[in-house]
């Protein structure tokens, strides 16, 4: 099978069959074929904003053990730095990155024409809202963003139970959120409020929230949560619930609150068009989505996207704890995010 296929490729038959195969993207290459092709490429350039020693290194170690001969070169950093890099590489005509993921990478990559649609075999089990029908992206893990409180500063009776509770004057100047202008930040929160309340009532709510002087921390939600834990702020507004769980396990005085609606975001894995190692990248995407890769994600404390693999702390999932989630389809998000950012600038900056 393997020999036949590689022979076919050598004879150029694959090229002849490609137009036919194009309509059947999923079954194009089996895992073995991908591995063989990836070995020829030798390495994979993975640009990732995932936490290095919690998630990236275990993934790399397990992947390289499973597929000897394929090395992963990791380029880390914030999502924004990675995006600047990829766009600059593409502009200079020397794209080095093979694959990348993040909550808001799809729109700029699509606009730059850098997405190579790919439907991985392992994506079959994903919920429809966790993957793109054309294969532009697949969620490797999901996030839920909720308010979190410092339990030493906020008594259980005072914990906000609803969006309205956040308008209590006692929280004025004691709330913080991230400065990242993505669905996993203030824009996502604004979108969720408008979605829950409707345009008019939603704007009235946001204006009142603006008067609460929410501090914008120029970093990601993890750093905001750390400031809450350190007691600098009583409430963090848009924080990942799995981050709270990780810190609670270490004894930190923090608690995430299932205030409705939470914001649903996901790390969308994208195969880049024109990267130097397309087969290795496909192999890695498949691995990340496979039960094996998802177990590594579970171990790290994140919420796997594959429904067959539970979260380490099951209560993080909305269906277990019973909270509502605002998770707009990417098309809606792409359409509305500029409007949400404009509202942020008007009311909160």
């Amino acid at each position: 099978m393997l020999a036949a296929s590689s022979l076919m490729r050598r004879l150029g038959l694959a090229a002849v069959l490609l137009p036919l195969a194009g309509s059947l993207p999923a079954a194009a290459q089996s895992e073995k074929e991908l591995y063989e092709a990836a070995k020829k490429e030798g390495s994979i350039n993975w640009y990732t904003g995932f936490v290095q020693n919690q998630l990236v290194r275990p993934v790399v170690a397990n992947f390289e053990a499973k597929y000897p001969g394929v090395r992963i070169n990791v380029t880390g950093g914030r999502d924004i730095d990675i995006m600047i890099k990829i766009l600059a590489e593409a502009k200079a005509g020397g794209l080095q990155a093979d694959l990348v993921e993040g909550p808001s990478v799809v729109k700029p990559l699509r606009e730059a024409g850098l997405i190579q649609p790919y439907v991985p075999e392992a994506a079959a089990k994903l919920a429809p809202n966790h993957k793109d029908a054309k294969g532009d992206w697949n969620a490797v893990l999901v996030h839920y963003l909720v308010p979190a409180v410092n339990t030493e500063l906020v008594k259980p009776a005072d914990e906000p139970k609803s969006l309205e509770d956040l308008l209590d004057p006692k929280w004025k100047g004691k709330m913080a959120w991230t400065g990242e202008m993505t669905i996993a930040g203030p824009p996502g929160f604004i979108g969720s409020v408008l979605n829950a309340y409707g345009e008019e009532k939603g704007m009235a709510y946001l204006e009142k929230l603006g008067a609460q002087k929410v501090a914008t921390i120029p970093s990601n939600p993890r750093v905001v949560l750390d400031q809450v834990i350190a007691g600098q702020y009583a409430i963090g507004l848009v924080t990942y619930n799995h981050h709270s769980a990780i810190s609670i396990a270490k004894g930190a005085p923090v608690k995430w609150l299932p205030v409705n609606p939470a914001i649903g975001a996901m790390a969308r894995e994208v195969l880049l068009k024109g990267g130097p190692h397309p087969n290795g990248a496909k192999l890695l995407i498949n691995y990340l989505l496979s039960p094996e890769g998802q177990k590594v994600i579970q171990e790290a404390g994140y919420i796997p996207s594959n429904p067959a693999v539970a979260a380490k702390d099951p209560s993080l999932k909305p269906e277990v704890t019973g909270f509502k989630v605002f998770s707009p389809p990417p098309a809606d998000e792409d359409r509305d995010i500029d409007k949400w950012i404009a509202i942020y600038k008007k009311l909160f900056q």
Binding site: G179, M181, P218
Partner: protein, 582 residues
């Protein structure tokens, strides 16, 4: 004719020596090669900068919208005022503090003076983020200052809001005072003791001598420094964003920074801002030139032995020591204590006895067991050392050419000063574009990071070299020239040895800056060219915030030991270099 305003002796000097028509090979080769190197380093990023500032992001079409939007923004004028206020006040604080410490350390006999050098070196070797985070924690809502205030007043409020203009000025001022100290210490070391002693003989008090002689002599160095620190403050992103952002104190750079964090990043606006800054800077440099035009007035290293003797502070010795200790506490002690406390905690906790039982060495264990640590350290040191060495080599020649008004001096001065207004992120992007268009595989290599450091830190190197040359009186070079030495020999045998202290200070400073640089490294570091600041930042942004402090302290400790070794070997080397008769 044109020089008729100059004293006759100076005209004579120029005619007899500096306008020698048969100039050696060195006379034109040096400016030409330095100019070429500078142009190659500085012009490509400027070209990319201007192009980006005039390009519409999505379509790639030509536009002036970025400039228009900048001025049309209603917040622009408040932000400009805030920026000027912030830069002015923090510059004043740095200069005031740094100058005082430098004078006490170099020119008096106050005990414990050496502590100031340790403070400056270790402080600059400490990752930037540790300083800022430590200050924010210390002065923050749950920090000891406000905790104590609440404990005694029972108001539940805060004594001091660190997320304010005063908080920003305090933190920025402290961050840059070691730079001022290091540069001015080198200057004071060279001040002319004769004049000071003459003043003392005539009965002037120490304070009077200090004000009328020491500071006046150092005036070009201080004003040059002030201008430099002011510009640096004006274009700095970190404190305005980290401290001003949450407090809604908006500066010009806040908006620029925010526009580069939107997805996709809006580089056009940031570039337009840099282009305007370059224009402003060039104007400022022209003003500064009026000082250096009269350079000889300030030269203190002359043919008549210059080694200054320290003032005897007598009964007021302790006052000098107090300044040095205060400097240590603010610039180094406080960040280190806060960092140590946090590094021993399982997660960030306020200072409290109740938290003590939680103390653990786990963070240090985590950090030290990371097998990537040594590789990271070596990469960082190599890159920083290479950049510092190259920058000082270029600056030594360039600084001399500029001060001595050699051919092309003005151009060299402008070229070498402009990179100070390059935002790191812009240099980063420009170098990615350039490197990927070169036939040699530069992209993702350590060499590219080194080049970025070299470009960005050249202005600092120039400041050190320039100030150093300003102090060397022409007469020394003329004497050598009269004795038959060619320009190259003069430069090598006279200028360089006298310049060594300034060059060494500059090298150390750039080395330390490079070892802690983040914004360019984060863009340019490839999979196999990671450096320490990026690793530290990764940890901070991914929730290992207490580990950051452990890693930061390990790195600081390592850098300090390294500095000590360099210092001890350097001292011998310097002693051997110094001309015997001076």
């Amino acid at each position: 004719m044109t020089n008729s305003s100059l004293p006759a002796s100076e005209q004579l000097q120029r005619r007899t020596f500096w306008r020698r028509p048969q100039g050696s090979l060195f006379t034109w080769l040096a400016p030409a090669s330095v100019g070429l190197v500078l142009a190659l380093l500085v012009l490509p990023p400027i070209a990319v900068l201007i192009k980006t500032s005039l390009t519409q992001e999505q379509t790639g079409a030509y536009t002036i919208a970025h400039f228009r939007d900048l001025f049309a923004d209603p917040q622009f004028y408040t932000a400009t005022w805030n920026s000027l206020l912030f830069s002015g006040l923090s510059t004043a604080l740095s200069i005031l503090f740094g100058t005082t410490v430098a004078w006490v350390v170099v020119r008096t006999n106050a005990p414990w003076r050496g502590l100031a050098y340790v403070t400056a070196a270790v402080s600059l070797g400490t990752p930037y983020i540790l300083h800022v985070m430590a200050w924010l924690f210390f002065l923050g809502r749950s920090g000891p200052v406000n905790e104590l205030y609440r404990a005694f007043t029972d108001t539940g409020g805060n004594l001091f809001d660190v997320f304010s203009m005063s908080g920003m000025v305090l933190i920025q001022g402290m961050l840059w005072s070691p730079l001022v100290f290091l540069l001015l210490a080198a200057t004071f070391e060279r001040s002319n003791a004769e004049w000071e002693e003459a003043a003392r003989m005539c009965g002037a008090s120490i304070a009077r001598t200090m004000w009328s002689i020491s500071f006046r002599q150092a005036w070009p160095a201080i004003t040059g420094m002030a201008l430099f620190v002011f510009i640096r403050n004006l274009e700095s992103f970190d404190v305005p964003v980290l401290v001003g952002g949450p407090g809604r104190v908006y500066l010009l750079t806040t908006d620029i920074y925010l526009s580069t964090t939107e997805m996709p990043p809006k580089m056009g606006r940031a570039s337009a801002f840099s282009v305007i800054l370059i224009a402003v800077l060039s104007a400022a440099l022209l003003c500064y030139n009026r000082y250096s035009a009269n350079a000889d007035r300030y030269a203190s290293v002359t043919g008549k032995g210059y080694r200054p003797r320290p003032f005897d502070l007598g009964r007021h010795k302790w006052l000098g020591t107090a300044v040095v200790v205060l400097n240590f506490l603010f610039v180094l002690g406080l960040p280190l204590i806060v960092s140590l406390w946090l590094s021993l905690m399982p997660f960030a906790r306020p200072f409290a006895m109740a938290a003590l039982p939680f103390a653990t060495l786990e963070n240090f264990q985590q950090v030290l067991s990371d097998r990537h640590l040594i590789g990271l350290g070596i990469n960082t040191l190599v890159v920083a050392a290479e950049a510092a060495t190259l920058a000082m080599l270029i600056a030594a020649v360039a600084g001399w050419l500029v001060v001595r008004h050699q051919a092309g001096a003005r151009l060299i001065e402008v070229l070498s000063s402009i990179p100070i207004v390059f935002p790191g992120i812009v240099v980063g992007v420009a170098l990615i574009l350039i490197a990927l268009n070169l036939p040699i595989p530069l992209y993702g290599s350590l060499t590219l990071i080194m080049l970025a450091f070299l470009i960005r830190f050249l202005p600092y190197a120039m400041r050190y070299a320039h100030t150093g040359v300003l102090q060397i009186h022409r007469e020394l070079e003329e004497a050598a020239g009269a004795a038959g030495a060619g320009q190259f020999t003069v430069f090598r045998k006279i200028v360089v040895p006298l310049l060594v202290p300034a060059l060494v200070s500059g090298w150390v400073f750039i080395f330390l800056l490079g070892a802690n640089e983040l914004s360019m490294s984060i863009l340019l570091a490839g999979a196999n060219s990671q450096v320490m600041p990026v690793a530290i930042y990764d940890r901070w942004s991914s929730g290992q915030n207490v580990e950051v402090f452990a890693l930061g302290l390990v790195w600081t400790a390592f850098m300090s030991v390294l500095m000590l070794v360099l210092y001890l070997t350097g001292r011998r080397f310097l002693a051997a270099l110094r001309p015997a008769n001076l």
